[in-house]
């Protein structure tokens, strides 16, 4: 008898529909004003109260969740962030990954975060120079961010770094990659930009042009992720299955239940009805759980399908709700990799 890698059980657990991973937006508010932000300005003020967070965590814990991604907005803006982490990690013994821009980290906060047994930070970087940071985020925070990353690493916090690529910062990709390598942090990048929550595609003007994307691929080859900065991880684009509504879900600061955090499709509200009931009874969630990536319209005819990052969530945002249509930004990326 051996312990079995999760991959062996993935399809079985997906059939059982156990929500192992939950993304929880505890606020829509952010201390930065990024040019590509998908949260419309009039929706950037919501916080989920501590009592509500606890209630939601209790519900997903009962349903089987082991891992919670705390996201926003900027989660460190929540006045009760430490009480939230205490509850999830210390009381419920769940693993937490906290998404942050790292601006609000302080030495004292890092010391506190370091005490949690099941905790890691996932920091997004928006450029390497102060000028680019100001241009992308609207704030002169470059040095604060990089100093906080170095301090967090030196104090022993578990860190993952990622870079959001835009027309405005792609030239600094290599510098950020080198920084991550020297620091010894796992690193990944994304060049995808979804329309905003109102479906407005204006922010997609910051998407990389074809030649710019090519220049990134020339640096990275097939890899989009560097684990411990060694090229040991196959590209994310190798994924051919999706856990949307099967073993993952998203919950917004307003309590709306989403099939995954990338698919802004409201399937009920956990402030009004218990998560377990929605998860088991909602017809849309059940339909999505039955959805196979092979049903994506491009799947039958595309020769590159096994190497393409097929994401129904991003396709849903990009195609006005039609998640069966191809996600074109991913198609382009895959084609360019092959042309190379």
């Amino acid at each position: 008898m051996r312990i079995r890698p999760f991959s062996v059980l993935k399809s079985k657990l997906n059939k059982k529909r156990i929500p192992l991973f939950i993304s929880l937006e505890i606020t829509n508010k952010c201390n930065l004003h990024c040019i590509h932000c998908y949260i419309p300005p009039d929706k950037r003020n919501l916080f989920m109260t501590l009592d509500r967070v606890k209630n939601v965590i209790e519900q997903v814990y009962e349903a089987g969740t082991l891992e919670v991604v705390i996201t926003g907005g900027e989660p460190l803006m929540h006045k009760d962030i430490l009480k939230i982490l205490d509850y999830i990690i210390q009381e419920k013994k769940m693993n937490v990954i906290l998404f942050t821009n790292a601006v609000l980290l302080t030495p004292q906060l890092i010391d506190k975060l370091k005490e949690y047994p099941y905790f890691s930070l996932d920091i997004t970087i928006y450029g390497f120079t102060g000028k680019t940071y100001l241009n992308v985020t609207g704030k002169e925070v470059r040095d604060i961010v990089f100093n906080n990353i170095i301090l967090s690493k030196n104090k022993g916090l578990k860190l993952n770094l990622k870079m959001q690529l835009l027309k405005e910062n792609y030239k600094e990709f290599e510098a950020v990659l080198d920084f991550s390598k020297k620091l010894g942090c796992p690193f990944r990048y994304s060049h995808f930009i979804s329309p905003d929550w109102n479906g407005n595609k204006k922010i997609q003007k910051h998407l990389l042009a074809k030649s710019q994307l090519k220049s990134i691929i020339n640096i990275t080859g097939d890899l989009v992720e560097y684990k411990d900065c060694a090229k040991i991880i196959e590209s994310e684009v190798k994924k051919t299955s999706c856990s949307l509504a099967k073993s993952t879900a998203g919950i917004t600061a307003a309590g709306d239940l989403l099939p995954c955090i990338s698919m802004r499709l409201k399937t009920g509200n956990v402030f009004k009805k218990r998560f377990g009931m929605l998860w088991n009874d909602n017809e849309k969630l059940k339909e999505l759980a039955d959805f196979s990536l092979t049903e994506t319209r491009c799947f039958a005819k595309c020769k590159l399908k096994t190497d393409c990052f097929i994401c129904p969530g991003l396709a849903h945002s990009d195609n006005n709700g039609d998640f069966r249509k191809p996600f074109k930004q991913s198609c382009l990326f895959t084609k360019l990799r092959y042309e190379r």
């Binding site: 008898m1 051996r2 312990i3 079995r4 890698p5 999760f6 062996v8 059980l9 079985k12 657990l13 059982k16 156990i18 192992l20 089987g64 082991l66 891992e67 013994k93 769940m94 693993n95 047994p117 099941y118």
Partner: protein, 93 residues
Amino acid sequence: MKKFNKKRFKINSDKVIWKNFGDEIVFLNFKTQHYYSLNSTGMRIWELLFENKIYEEIIDICCDEYDADIDLVTASIDDLLNDLVKEGFIQVI
């Protein structure tokens, strides 16, 4: 296996998170972020580790409950304990 003779085991709660899903137990190795699972028989052994049983007691109980040959049970338990030690989920004390 000699190295386990008369030994007890400590579950490293700071390195592993686990959850029981009826007929499966799922583990998350916090350090590697890798997930693993055990079937119902493995779950029973995990329970016995939790009850602070020594190696020989675990074997005896499993032989009795599963009405199985002691050599097969021992080999099977050794494999599992080695995996759990290797992953850092338990330590021999």
